[in-house]
């Protein structure tokens, strides 16, 4: 043996080094997908691959997010685990897009509506609405609005307080802070869409009516084409209108109309026309910002100001009068507006990629911040890539989606909790604040339901469908859960780590759970529905 080793020294060294290297690095391999089988029950075929599916890693990432969001762990104004101490002005975006992500994830398993998911969405809304009075400098009001660096607090339109026609439009919840009010309202709208509690309807309605006032009148009681600011859009920062920021209240209004049976959407007609005709760059993509008045905040770069105001924000790189463009603006706006103007997104998507996509390798690509500065690389390139991952997923461009995901996630280790329930991407060595962002970003990119799918309200009969109303959530992984109204059966793809009981509501009679095409068990009647107790294992269940 020793002689053999002695005769093959280099081979042995290379073999050991290979084994050691491979052994050290297997933790980042993808988790295998749970099975999606086919069952035939009473002559009806149930193919699990026909139903939306949430991957195992998405659920593990969600479990991690729960530990930094849920009020079970910390107060609404506390930020332990967010690594956000050194930032302001970004927290509310993280909360909002996390909410859109999980709302889409909840929709993928629309029959699993226990408090675990509902409370997460509720806590996000409450976190988004923390006031300075209660939480001081930890509040979103401070971080997004009253932070002294912004100088956002009091302002008028036109930007001259002594003008007798000037309208006061200041305030955190005021008419011109669409970069917060829009997100907050959409979070509320999605909560009501997904959980139908009615709790946020009044506040949501107030925002819708306030936008209606701004977009159709001069806020002095007179109707005005293009609304107060004359562009049919609502500004933020506080004298710039952005397509991306306005895409949020536009989608909110569409969803609100769908849920409430109202007709507020026409208030956006002028603004939609404005973004599709005026706020366009040389390629017909959205420009990133249009000044409706001269700004006041110290953040405004005078190099961005157009010669005449109103006018488009200027590119810092081209310096030849070209407008500012960015991938995050287009990636975001094209995705969120697809529900409203699908053809525009379909038309612009390939043009957007043509000018913003950079190929690293066959399995990796990224999106540059702006084609006016193709050799730069920084935060906004990452942001543009994040937004385009979702857009590509929504457009069904999975090849590009995967390449963008590979680019963004290939530099981080997956960290699993010791019980295997939670996972996150460790960004501490590069940028700690990215950790929660990349956690929901992965779900955002890979979920089978996208933001476009959330524009429709659920049909009234949906609320009568059987669903899982409570469960031992800590013991299970719910990959698929929905009522199939056409086959009158509940589809459940679940992994059980420890014995777990699920309670189903809305079944009219005692249902039977089928597994592998044969009867597994009948559910047990309880006070609040029918219960199913499952031993540890992997199940594709049809319950009918």
């Amino acid at each position: 043996m020793l002689k053999m080793i002695s005769n093959n020294k280099f081979f042995v060294v290379a073999l050991v080094a290979t084994i050691v290297t491979a052994g050290m690095s297997f933790g980042n391999l993808p988790t295998p997908s749970p099975p999606q089988g086919v069952q035939v029950i009473n002559g009806v075929t149930f193919n699990f691959s026909d139903y939306p599916f949430v991957p195992h890693e998405s659920l593990a990432l969600f479990n991690y997010l729960d530990t930094i969001v849920s009020s079970k762990y910390q107060g609404y104004g506390e930020w332990e685990g967010w690594y956000a101490e050194n930032y302001h002005g970004l927290h509310h975006y993280v909360l909002a897009f996390m909410d859109y992500t999980v709302s889409a994830m909840f929709e993928a398993t629309s029959g699993y509506r226990t408090d675990y998911y509902r409370e997460f969405a509720y806590d996000l809304i409450k976190r988004m609405n923390t006031t300075e009075e209660e939480w001081g400098e930890n509040s979103i009001e401070y971080k997004e609005w009253t932070h002294p660096e912004y100088n956002y607090v009091d302002y008028y339109y036109p930007n001259n307080a002594s003008d007798p026609n000037a309208v006061y439009v200041g305030g955190w919840r005021g008419p011109a802070n669409i970069m917060w009010t829009g997100h907050y309202a959409l979070m509320q709208a999605l909560y009501e869409r997904n959980f139908n509690t009615g709790e946020f309807i009044d506040e949501l309605s107030w925002f819708i009516k306030d936008w209606n006032l701004s977009l159709l009148t001069d806020r002095h009681g007179n109707s005005k084409e293009g609304g107060l600011w004359g562009v049919g859009l609502i500004p933020c920062e506080p004298y710039i209108v952005f397509v991306q920021c306005n895409s949020i209240p536009i989608l909110t209004t569409a969803l609100y109309d769908n849920m409430m049976g109202t007709n507020y959407m026409p208030m956006w007609d002028y603004g939609l026309n404005f973004i599709n005709t005026v706020m366009q760059d040389q390629y017909g993509l959205f420009m990133d910002g249009y000044y409706v008045d001269r700004p006041t905040s110290i953040y405004y770069n005078t190099e961005r100001l157009p010669d005449t105001i109103p006018g488009p924000a200027q590119s810092l790189y081209a310096k030849d009068g070209r407008c500012k463009v960015s991938s995050y603006c287009n990636g975001w706006a094209l995705a969120f507006l697809e529900y409203i103007q699908e053809n525009e997104t379909i038309h612009d998507y390939p043009i957007f990629l043509q000018h913003f996509k950079k190929d690293i390798s066959p399995d990796m690509a990224y999106i540059i911040d702006t084609y006016n500065n193709p050799t730069g690389f920084g935060t906004f390139d990452i942001l543009g890539t994040l937004f385009t991952m979702h857009l590509a997923n929504q457009r069904g461009d999975y090849a590009l989606r995967n390449r963008l995901v590979n680019f963004l996630y290939s530099s981080y280790n997956k960290i699993w909790s010791s019980d295997g329930r939670r996972m996150y991407y460790d960004t501490l060595s590069i940028e700690p604040f990215m950790q929660p962002v990349l956690a929901f970003g992965h779900i955002w990119a890979t979920n089978p339901v996208t933001i476009k799918d959330l524009g429709d309200a659920r049909p009234a009969e949906f609320w009568n469908y059987p669903y899982i109303s409570s469960a031992d959530d800590d013991n299970i992984w719910v990959y698929q859960a929905q009522w199939d109204p056409n086959k009158s059966a509940f589809i459940l793809n679940i992994r059980v780590d420890r014995t777990a009981t699920l309670t189903f509501s809305n079944f009219d009679a005692t249902p039977t759970a089928y597994f592998g095409g044969t009867v597994l068990t009948q559910l047990t009647q309880a006070a609040d529905g029918y219960t199913l107790t499952l031993s540890p294992g992997q199940y594709n269940l049809v319950i009918m």
Binding site: N7, N8, K9, F10, F11, V13, A14, L15, A17, T18, T21, A22, M24, S25, F26, G27, N28, L29, P30, K358, D359, I360, S361, P362, D363, M364, A365, Y366, I368, P374, T375, G376, F377, G378, D381, A399, N402, R403, F407, S410, S411, Y412, N413, D426, S429, I430
Partner: protein
Amino acid sequence: MTEETTKSEASAEKMTVLERCRMNDRSALMKTMLYALVGAALYTILQMIPHPFIVLGLLKFGLLPSLTIIALVGAIRGPTAGFLTGYLGEVTYGLLIHNTIVTMTLDAAAFGVIGLIVGLASYDLKNGRSLVKLSILSVTGLIFSTLLIVVIAMKVEVYGTLAILGFEMLPLLTLGIPTLMFLTPVLARIWAKIAISLSPAGEKAH
């Protein structure tokens, strides 16, 4: 196949260019192409399988087994087969799995350079010194390949230097060097064993 790996280093020095490229007659050319195609197919298959890696600080370590196929084919069948394995394998992988061709296949050609450089030398694959030579030339090929990819990214594709360094050059080196240095000689040795056992006369293989 063992026949193809039995040239001695001394006789290799006297080879013509076509002989070194294993394209000196129709039969040799056909075999070279066959090796390249099989190598490209293996490369594509290995690329499809997620590779293990670990990130330490800003550096990414692990194994990229597909790279060893390029080096192995180069070592076994010469520079043409080695180059084509990398080139065709990378193009096929991009087209089949990611529906894309990157930078007019120039990147793929850069991967082929690994096989080209490795294939320029001759090896006795069951000899330790020869395996060391294979390791060194594989890594040399990777360095040339990486430099070419960086130049292509900067001059043809034109994107951020930070993106090139952080997402392309460094990972390729930190994954590729351990792979080519350690895994290539291991697989080469295994190949030599297989070749000997398949040889009817138990012929010496190298």
